[in-house]
């Protein structure tokens, strides 16, 4: 397979906050070229690149930027979602820690296009050490004339601020993130209006993930078509994947779109650890779907995944071996969502509590077939009526595991946990 490194080329090879080393390693070529181009031209290249948002929602970035560019209202803000909170995801962390200037360059190109003067990088609070690296990189870029006033002598100004998140998964949702940046509790806003029209401080806001911004310099540099050719027909470029769980070689891998999940786990990841068998893969983080062995040959690209009812989400590939129990595993997933629900809407706030309650019943051997039906019904209600993506996707793991492993759930109603993970200690107790 072709070894293309766009995002990870400099990982571990340069001092992350050094502008000099960044430039010596090929950095800032994109920005230098961008400032010689018309804004519309750059957007055109982005559309050709088939770049889809890397945060999870996979919206075509070129179209998003074209729409934002068309909004006539000032000031516009550029915001980077670096609140990487999706469990099993640690790719943005690598960019932030090891090549933050790539992100800064991408955002600066964005500012040039949008005419934005201020940008915010919202980094999750747990990455406090990394926040310091990014802040230092910003200072250095300013000193070198790549950020701040009169960038590259082209008369445009752009300043970047690092804002620390405070520990709320829901702030990965665009409008919740904006609320948080405004100093409020991170509860999502009603859409429309969308942030591109009315976002931070009620102004037009361009909001993208770390990885998405980081793709822009390359697209400008090599052109949209060339960039797109790294991937498949419909999914342009490369993607950072986070391989974790019961697999030999865990870590972040940059892959061109089109590899199969099996290739990723067995070729890159070295297969399942300790000679155990793969039970399922949790794709795209806790909000993503779980897929069984039989779907491992699905290619990583938006269209193929969609055909199988899957989505790549944030790029997490969590391998779960056959020593694990689906009910027990789901309890960990649902505990997370129960706690992270912002509490605004009924289906998410209450639904997650009830799914967890019914899973606990199952794991204690008190569950019934009716409980399984009730879980399906709540899951459906959550998916259809939750206010934001958190609640809509929270039951995805449950729904997919029920689809592929329903028998294991049914066994639990008979007080049996084949993997011995569930205590079943409360059987008969009500």
């Amino acid at each position: 397979m072709e070894d293309i490194k766009i995002l990870s080329a400099r990982f571990g090879k340069i001092k992350p906050d050094s502008v000099e080393e960044y430039i010596n390693a090929g950095g800032y070529e994109g920005l230098k070229k961008a400032v010689t181009m018309q804004q519309e031209e750059i957007i055109e290249e982005m559309k050709k690149s088939n770049l889809y948002g890397r945060g999870g929602a996979a919206y075509p970035t070129g179209i998003k930027w074209e729409q934002a560019y068309a909004v006539k209202k000032d000031p516009k803000y550029l915001v980077c979602n670096a609140d990487e909170g999706e469990p099993g995801t640690f790719k943005d962390k690598r960019i932030l820690a090891e090549d933050p200037l790539l992100l800064i360059e991408g955002m600066t190109i964005g500012a040039y296009i949008m005419g934005a003067k201020e940008g915010y990088i919202y980094i999750r609070g747990e990455y406090s050490a990394i926040q310091r690296i990014v802040k230092s990189a910003i200072e250095n870029a300013k000193k070198a004339g790549y950020l701040g006033t009169n960038i590259l002598g082209k008369g445009f100004d752009f300043d970047l601020h690092v804002v620390s998140g405070a520990g709320a998964y829901v702030c990965g949702e665009n409008t919740a993130l904006v609320e948080s940046l405004e100093g409020k509790q991170g509860r999502p806003r009603q859409k429309p209006p969308y942030v591109k029209n009315c976002g931070l401080f009620q102004m037009p806001t361009i909001l993208n993930n770390v990885e998405t911004y980081s793709c822009i310099p390359c697209i400008v540099n090599v052109g949209g078509e060339r960039y797109s050719s790294f991937g498949t027909e419909f999914s342009g470029g490369t993607k950072l994947l986070c391989l974790s769980g019961n697999v030999v070689n865990r870590g972040v891998y940059e892959i061109p779109y089109g590899l199969t999940i099996r290739e990723i786990i067995y070729n890159l990841g070295g297969g399942v650890k300790d000679g155990k068998k793969l039970k399922f893969v949790h794709l795209g983080g806790s909000s993503g779907s779980c897929l069984p062995e039989s779907l491992l040959d699905t290619r990583i690209c938006y269209d193929d995944l969609k055909k199988n009812g899957l989505s790549l989400g944030s790029g997490a590939v969590l391998v779960v071996d056959d020593s694990n129990c689906v009910v027990d595993y789901l309890k960990a997933v649902m505990e997370f969502f129960e706690e992270e629900s912002c509490g605004k809407c009924t289906p998410c706030r209450e639904g997650n509590q009830r799914l967890l309650e019914l899973l606990e019943k199952l794991s204690q051997g008190r569950g019934t077939l009716a409980d399984i039906e009730k879980m399906k019904s709540i899951a459906q209600t959550m998916k259809m009526t939750s206010f934001c993506g958190l609640g809509q996707s929270a039951p995805t793991a449950l729904v997919t595991l029920l689809k592929y492993f329903e028998n294991e759930f049914i066994e639990h109603t008979a007080g049996k946990c084949a993997n011995g993970k569930c205590s079943m200690n409360s059987k008969g107790v009500n």
């Binding site: 990487e84 640690f90 990455y127 709320a168 974790s244 806790s286 595993y329 960990a332």
Partner: protein, 171 residues
């Protein structure tokens, strides 16, 4: 003793006023101020929240709302060593539950508690993005990865020895 604590406290409140003054005119300054206040005091007691509310002209109810909404803010003082064990799914399938149970057992506190001597607090945390090292825990900013029950026992023993030695040194 009482006065020295008092002085130190009023010194901190002076610093808090400075933090507030520095951020006052920036939009969205509440959360950054709260971060810095927590760094300063270790937690966000009512009096600190009240000063922030008055200083930034935000209703106290809003400050309290933010303080309780985000998991990084705490209303209670934490231990000198804040131990967080990741229970994210990637760590969970690598046996994180056993790790947290071991730490709780060694420190003789429950998850979410702070030891009576104020030295250790133990919390379960959501995924911290160190899945490549799962299972992981952090002690303050230090990350420990690829833990096993044996390994965590050794690490915790060292911490316990350190504070033990400190105690002796003080005595």
């Amino acid at each position: 003793m009482g006065t020295s604590v008092c002085n130190c406290k009023s010194e901190k409140f002076k610093q808090l006023e400075l933090i507030i003054a520095e951020h006052k005119d920036q939009p969205g300054s509440l959360i950054p101020v709260m971060h810095e206040a927590q760094e300063l005091f270790g937690y966000l007691p009512l009096e600190v929240q009240t000063v922030i509310a008055e200083g930034l002209d935000v209703p106290l109810a809003d400050v309290y709302g933010v303080a309780t909404f985000y998991s990084k803010f705490t209303l209670q003082a934490k231990g000198q060593y804040q131990i967080n064990v990741c229970l994210g799914t990637a760590c969970y399938v690598k046996g994180a539950q056993l790790i947290i149970e071991k730490v709780a057992d060694m420190l003789k506190i429950k998850v979410g508690e702070t030891s009576q001597d104020g030295l250790f607090s133990l919390d379960a945390t959501r995924c911290i993005g160190a899945c490549g090292l799962a299972p992981v825990m952090t002690v303050n900013e230090k990350v420990y990865g690829q833990l096993t029950v044996d390994k965590v026992e050794k690490i915790m023993k060292e911490y316990l020895d350190t504070v033990g030695r400190d105690k002796n040194a003080n005595a």
